[in-house]
């Protein structure tokens, strides 16, 4: 079995659904200069198989963004070789910017002042967000 050494200082993003690790890597760590390891298709009792990302010397990560990709993700902070904290990714209840409204007639597509703001209305399976301007539902897709 492939083995990767643990880290002494940094974060371990665990319980990433198989295949989603590369998305997180590309979004958050593709241009980082710190050492990063992406493990794919690791055996997991909970998920069958999972992806893991280990990042050295970084202690913070966008939990909302991780939650949008996979709400089952956990983030372990390691300090001096010991587990310092364990946090679960969160699904943001509101998103401002960073997502486009699904409705082509929405003012947010044609006016720079209108920054799209979304409120989570359903997180069961699909993440459905309502636009604060036109009230149309946009399903979050990465």
């Amino acid at each position: 079995m492939l083995e990767v050494k643990g880290i002494d200082n940094g974060i371990v993003i665990d319980h990433i659904g198989s295949g989603k690790g590369i998305k997180i890597f590309n979004l958050l760590f593709a241009s980082t200069e710190t050492p990063v390891v992406l493990l794919m298709n690791v055996k997991s009792q909970l998920l069958g198989s999972k992806d893991i990302i280990k990042v050295e010397n970084v202690y913070e990560v966008d939990l909302d963004l991780l939650g949008l990709i996979d709400p089952k993700i956990t983030v372990n902070v390691i300090k001096d070789g010991k587990l310092s904290s364990k946090t679960r990714a969160t699904i943001p209840t509101t998103i401002k910017g960073g997502m486009k409204c699904h409705n082509p007639r929405c003012i947010t597509h044609s006016d720079d002042y209108a920054i799209p703001e979304f409120t989570l209305i359903k997180a069961n399976g699909k993440l459905e967000y309502e636009c604060s301007f036109c009230e149309e539902i946009t399903i979050y897709k990465l």
């Binding site: 003012i107 947010t108 597509h109 636009c131 301007f133 036109c134 009230e135």
Partner: protein, 309 residues
Amino acid sequence: MRHLIEPEDLTLEEIEHLVATGMDIFNNPSNYSEVCKGKILASLFFEPSTRTKFSFDSAMMRLGGNVIGFADAETSSTKKGESLADTIRVMGYYSDIIVMRHPKEGAPKLASQYSSIPVINGGDGGHQHPTQTLTDLITIKRFKGEIGKHSVAFCGDLKYGRTVHSLIRTLARFGTKEFILVSPEELKLPESLKRQLVEKYGVELTEVLYLEEVIDKIDILYMTRIQKERFFNEADYLKLKDSFMLNRDKLKEAKPDMIIMHPLPRVNEIAYDVDDDSRAVYFEQSEMGVYIRMALITKLLEVGPYARG
């Protein structure tokens, strides 16, 4: 300062009070002929409108106020590339209240965020048209006495019709428990709205394809225009269009005190021979639009019956 962007911006008590004020203005117009003296309404129509624009203009003039504005974005600085926020900011210096229509959905909400004076949504794309809903409610009040106590049928384009969505939600808030929906398969009420009506308000929805099946059960019949381009092909349109047309013959089985409403413009969904029927109130509905808009302007400007202190 208050804006009216969607009907939910007003509580049921506020809507009832506005309707009562509108009825009082209708009955005693001279009492209100100077309550907006010295006030200016900015009428900003970024897309054309007949009834909404002129009823607002008329409402402000009947209250003794003045109106400035444009009826087409081509004649405003928008054509030069000015942002909506900048137009709205400036209008705050030139006027006391704004009514706007805009083709983009959510534009009035954006305007309200940059406005120093009240903004009224006069229609934003297929999204909201709250003063049409208020117009419908005052019409129901005038002809049926009460709001929320009747069997209401909507006929025609229930998928894209913003007036239908807005009115049906507001009537459900008022306690209407029974709606009859008459539309072709392609133009049914959206599932999300149906779900909301059933789950949130516990209403009963009956969906049928032919008006004749239900006409004898209806207290208020709300007709809407079906546009040919909504159909996949012309053959379907031709086959179905008669099912959603109202004529004298179909009215034979209707209740004698049923009322027929329509937000106008109509094309051919109500035959001209229905106009003389005492149950047809769609022209009076347009008339009531002026009185409810007068009431709304006084409320948002806090003058007349809504003056503070």
